[in-house]
Symmetry: C2
Subunit: 407 residues, 2 copies
């Protein structure tokens, strides 16, 4: 019999079945368990365990000692502790919008949680051009509740500082600092640029000193601005979705950073879906309809975020000086500015850097893919450089439409 209390080891499927039977008290004693590793992320092993008899199921997620994407990234299994604690906290702040956590095991560095197999990964669903009319509503509730309610505007400042301490996340932050804020903006050997796009990148991004300077400012803000407890990796691959349900998963990058980081990631990844639709849907009417749906979703994400943020502010604000005239507007403006900047950074880094998105890489035609990439890069640059002027959903769409016309 395998022992799970003596020390960490990376589990195989058979170990996970035994683990579920002997450690967790989730399944019936006569359960007939099957297990499959279903992870496709960059960092962890994800096992789905099903009882064929009762049809009950759960997910066990185990952190390995190195990232799956490349053993260059050594990441502490402490990220699994952070993930479990964050999921519980987010579950309180934004009920129903994250999976339930059943158990966290600090020896095996694994977490047992709700199986969401009736949902699908949002990125894949968007590439299949499915619509989710409730998504903007759900994700803005998630973001307003997890961001504003963990900030100094609402939390007791001493408790907030203890929470900052608990979620200091050096290794995962380093990945973001390198892959999002640094490598895409110079000719770094670890970049992975599509050959047809390379000249454009050299000319319009790597040669642009003004852009480089802005990325430096943004990187230092990311490293120092402990504003809100971020998800930290809120792209459409971290969202499980079905028509009437949205579940945000994988918060292992969580830490206290600028609130706009999460909002910007959502918007950038909706833009990838939009650009995918532009180049992969042949039928004009279907294409325009789907693109309009995505544009409206982008507008709604920004504007519903603002609307709910203002309401939540009135309801939850506890900090005296935050109630001074003009402060709420100033604060929201800085979040929108950071949102725009991060939208831009994410658009650039997913094209130039090591970690691509299927929305773009699945565009089979070389010319179309290159055109799609150039749109993303031009948009990315604009959202970084003109971040001070982005104040509403419509501002984002105006930039997108202008840019699309150029290519």
């Amino acid at each position: 019999m395998t022992v799970f209390t003596a020390g960490y080891f990376t589990m195989k499927e058979q170990d996970v079945i035994e683990y579920a039977k002997t450690v967790l008290h989730f399944f019936d004693s006569d359960a007939e368990l099957t297990c499959k590793e279903i992870g496709d992320g960059n960092l962890n092993y994800v096992f789905r365990v099903v009882d064929k008899k009762s049809n009950k199921s759960l997910i066990i997620k185990q952190a390995g000692p190195v990232a799956r994407i490349s053993d260059e990234f050594k990441v502490s299994p402490d990220r699994n502790r952070i993930e479990s604690e964050i999921l519980k906290l987010q579950g309180k702040l934004a009920p129903g919008l994250v999976p339930k956590v059943y158990n966290y095991d600090s020896i095996m560095n694994c977490c047992a949680m709700e199986d969401l197999s009736d949902h699908e990964i949002m990125r894949s669903a968007l590439i299949k051009h499915k619509k989710f009319p409730q998504f903007a509503d759900h994700i803005t509730t998630f973001m307003v509740n997890t961001l504003l309610l963990t900030s100094d505007v609402v939390m007791d400042h001493k408790k907030k500082k203890e929470q900052v301490k608990r979620f200091i996340n050096p290794e995962l932050c380093e990945i973001t600092e390198d892959l999002v804020y640094t490598e895409p903006f110079y000719n770094c050997p670890r970049n992975d640029v599509f050959p047809t796009t390379k000249e454009f990148v050299k000319e319009h991004l790597w040669a642009d000193k003004k852009l480089a300077l802005e990325t430096a400012k943004l990187k230092f803000e990311f490293m120092t601005n402990a504003q809100a407890l971020l998800h930290g990796d809120l792209h459409t691959g971290s969202i499980f979705i079905k028509e009437d349900s949205t579940k945000v998963i994988d918060p292992e990058f969580a830490f206290y950073g600028p609130a706009g980081y999460d909002v910007g990631n959502v918007i950038a990844n909706l833009i990838f879906a939009l650009v995918n639709a532009k180049y992969t849907i042949e039928d004009k009417e279907i294409r325009e309809d789907y693109m309009e749906y995505l544009e409206n979703t982008i507008i709604d994400v920004v504007d519903l975020f603002k609307e709910k943020f203002v309401k939540a502010w009135s309801r939850h604000v506890t900090e005296r000086v935050a109630q001074y005239e003009g402060f709420k507007e100033y604060y929201l403006d800085t979040i929108l500015r950071d949102t725009s900047a991060v939208t831009g950074l994410e658009l650039c880094r997913r094209i130039i850097g090591i970690a691509h998105v299927k929305d773009i890489t699945s565009i089979a035609d070389v010319e179309k893919r290159a055109a799609a990439e150039k749109i993303c890069l031009s948009l990315g640059k604009t959202f970084i450089l003109e971040r001070e002027s982005m104040k509403a959903g419509e501002d984002f769409i105006t930039v997108i439409r202008k840019c699309e016309q150029k290519f």
Copy 2:
């Protein structure tokens, strides 16, 4: 015999002698120890222990369970751990500019350190109108080394984050948030305004909504911007000085915050000395000479800080993007902006808030004191509102001279 390992208690002078004999191995076995409590700060008990035979001496500083200034402030004795660790760290970064630490005791919450009785508290010395021609040089070395070298510009980002975690300081930060950033800017019952100044405060500070908004922005930056490991309370009462030596003491407020916080505190407290000189030195020639000395010291603090900062940047920078064209200038500009803001906050809060400075309270003549206070408040307001335009020592002096002419 008193036991010092069973649990914390607040020591009296006789306990301290026994503590020095039985716990520390600093004095000879036949030492004839005397002890005197010499603390005049707000938070701690400070004992000086002297061996009459050898003339060796040391200081034992013990954190009590509540602040001495008022038992409203409950402060964790963990501040003593922070203070000891910070003194050791600052001693490495800025050798010779802080007292040596001999021992830290986590049960008794006390720290044994170098006796600096041959130095005097700088505030008292300035009130006596003494000059310290090396001060600007010493303090700028201290600030550049402790601030820049603990920032993300120089430190490995993961180690820096571990250091942020180690020095999260909720209770002491709360004191600053309340006493510096909040209470002085509204009619808070805990304020302590000189009657002759009260109307001025009401009209020019409490009624000014623009000023209130700026203080709110600054308070949130103070709470969230983990830029550099601050001393956190760098006024002239935290500096021991003699002609050729400057020692920075009392770093219990240390935490990662905006670098300009320390620089601004130094400048504001030099301004208090300047205003003191203006109203207490009768002889015109002596007065003008001393004021000129202080003005030059202010100019030197700002300009030497900049000069040494730029040199240290070139020598120590490790962060790739920090070397982008224009970033160093941008970064230094933000520190000067914060320096100006904090100069302003400190000038206001020492006049309006609970904790005054002797430079001003020792001005015996009521009219002169009121005039002195109005200069400080007007200056304070200007340095907050016009913080973006303060780029060099001369800019600070220009503001000071303009303001002096008004009163």
